[in-house]
Symmetry: none
Subunit: 190 residues, 4 copies
């Protein structure tokens, strides 16, 4: 099974995201995905070993895409509140612009299939974070604790709110957005 047609993989990925988001994992069959992607179900097997393989690869693909989203190309990662704000807003913006993909990731992040992926692949999604956090701790800009804690204090609230707003339909307005960032920043800043 070699990659033959990148554009076709993309179509399959998009179809999978769409179907999974609307019907859930348990409701997403290969034939639905195939139909949505406008290919034959058999074709999917030219590009992926099996369904699990496809889902896993899609998950990794999106996870990595998301990882990059925090940082814009040229951004200098100086250790400052401004940098954190930029990163934070980049992330927010990315999520809002890619709700479907984000939703897919959330949909799967708790399923046993994916947990095994994360174990096996030990994908380090965002190495850049490590260095920024470490630098900022040395600077005394942020509290001196485990990076996981910092990450969670910084991003979990906004992620939760996005999910919630998606399901209720009520979007955050700009004031609320800033409030959340400022609060998250208070949590981690020294």
């Amino acid at each position: 099974m070699r990659i033959k047609d990148d554009e076709k993989v993309t179509r399959i990925y998009q179809a999978a995201i769409k179907v999974v988001n609307s019907d859930g994992f348990q409701g997403s069959s290969m034939s639905k995905i195939a139909k949505e992607a406008d290919v034959s179900a058999a074709t999917i097997y030219l590009y992926f070993e099996n369904k699990d393989d496809m889902i896993k690869k899609l998950f990794i693909h999106l996870k990595s895409k998301m990882g990059h989203s925090y940082f814009s190309e040229e951004s200098d990662l100086s250790s400052s509140k401004g940098t954190f704000r930029t990163i934070w807003l980049n992330h927010y913006q990315y999520v809002m612009e890619n709700l479907e993909e984000y939703n897919f990731l959330e949909n799967f992040s708790n399923c046993p299939l994916i947990e095994r992926i994360e174990d096996e692949n030990k994908v380090d999604y965002c190495p850049t974070f490590e260095s920024l956090f470490d630098k900022s701790k040395l600077n005394g800009l942020i509290i001196n604790t485990n990076n996981d804690l910092i990450f969670s204090l910084l991003f979990s609230p906004i992620n939760y709110l996005v999910k919630k707003s998606k399901s209720t339909g009520k979007m955050l307005n700009t004031n609320e957005l800033i409030e959340v960032f400022e609060a998250s920043w208070r949590a981690i800043s020294k």
Copy 2:
């Protein structure tokens, strides 16, 4: 005539939690659940209309149980940092002691089936929060913003960390736990 058995529903629930957690929703079949619960698959249909119905009822059951977990019976909900700390720790303790149930809830909270439940049932999981938050805002104890924001700033980080620690196997130690609470408190306190 044998007597319909409340304990049997419990057994089915426990089996469902176990199977879903180990095999995911998509891998959880009624027969697996039945075998785990040590009843016939047909028996499940005496207690539930169908699979969806069972999952939904289980979800609502656990969600409500979780809602109550924040508050111990006698707790006076005076508006003070101590109250917030107690609630926060109650929640943490509950989650740690009921990881399987917590995991089940997380597993489902993103699936379309459940979103429909939350819409339909409009379960107000924790009415007590509303009054505590409102009171504390009036007091000037916490920041004056939307309760959802407060809730997320307070609980999302620890929830994220629990999930993460469950999958990596590294538990939070007491210091870290306190650190997370203090940081979350900084986020919402005035």
Copy 3:
């Protein structure tokens, strides 16, 4: 299994007729019938060995009832056109007044289960016909042929028309009814 309560058997029979007629044999489950009869499904097994047994007994019961319907109690079966007309109309009237039962019989008369009954039980549904037909042949009133042929020439057309009218909803009027009898009589009279 002894008969314990005749009225209960009747209720079960009526329920079975109703359910079978509305849902077909394949759609008629013991529990539907039980619910319709307002007894527990288990109760049916006090009166009948199993489902087949119940259906068969009901079939035989109705078939025999129908057999008697041709003849009114006091009717003298003199060999005359009038007698044939009376019998014929009795039958028609019975069918129209018991369409549900008639329909049930028709529903089953072609199914293998029932064919076996008729073989095994050799129920002679209408011994009285034999003597009437035989007498009338000797008299020269009707054609001298096999009784089955006579029976079919006399009753099949009206039976077919009843079934048809039931499904189309268009009933026969009195003129048509007489026409059919007269035609059937032409067929068998000498």
Copy 4:
């Protein structure tokens, strides 16, 4: 890509007829039919939406085949006793040569599923009859009544006898056959 096979539908039809005739509708499962047709049960679902769909399509197919059987290709439908005899015998011959198919039709013609078909599809099985009957009424060849009555007087008796002879095993001999036609003809002729 294997080619979808018309012959396969035929095999499924034949299997269905066989299974239904020997086990009744209620005893005919998709897997029995599939085994008899020597295909996988799943394959049937490539050709039909579901079991009902298959049965209905088979019913319509056979009904239409039967409708054509009355008339041979070249037959001139002059209004004469000879024409009626030819049609009548064609029908008899067809039924005898296709007892299984005929039996299948009878098996189903009383079931609620099929009644709905006939309502929905309003298949006019034999438009040719209408014109023949109408012409013959104008000629004064047959009695001047509703076509349904004529149809039933002409064909019900022989149909009943065929069914009966099938279940008892006693076939009609040539004399009896002629007798039945002549009697039926007396019923409708003027």
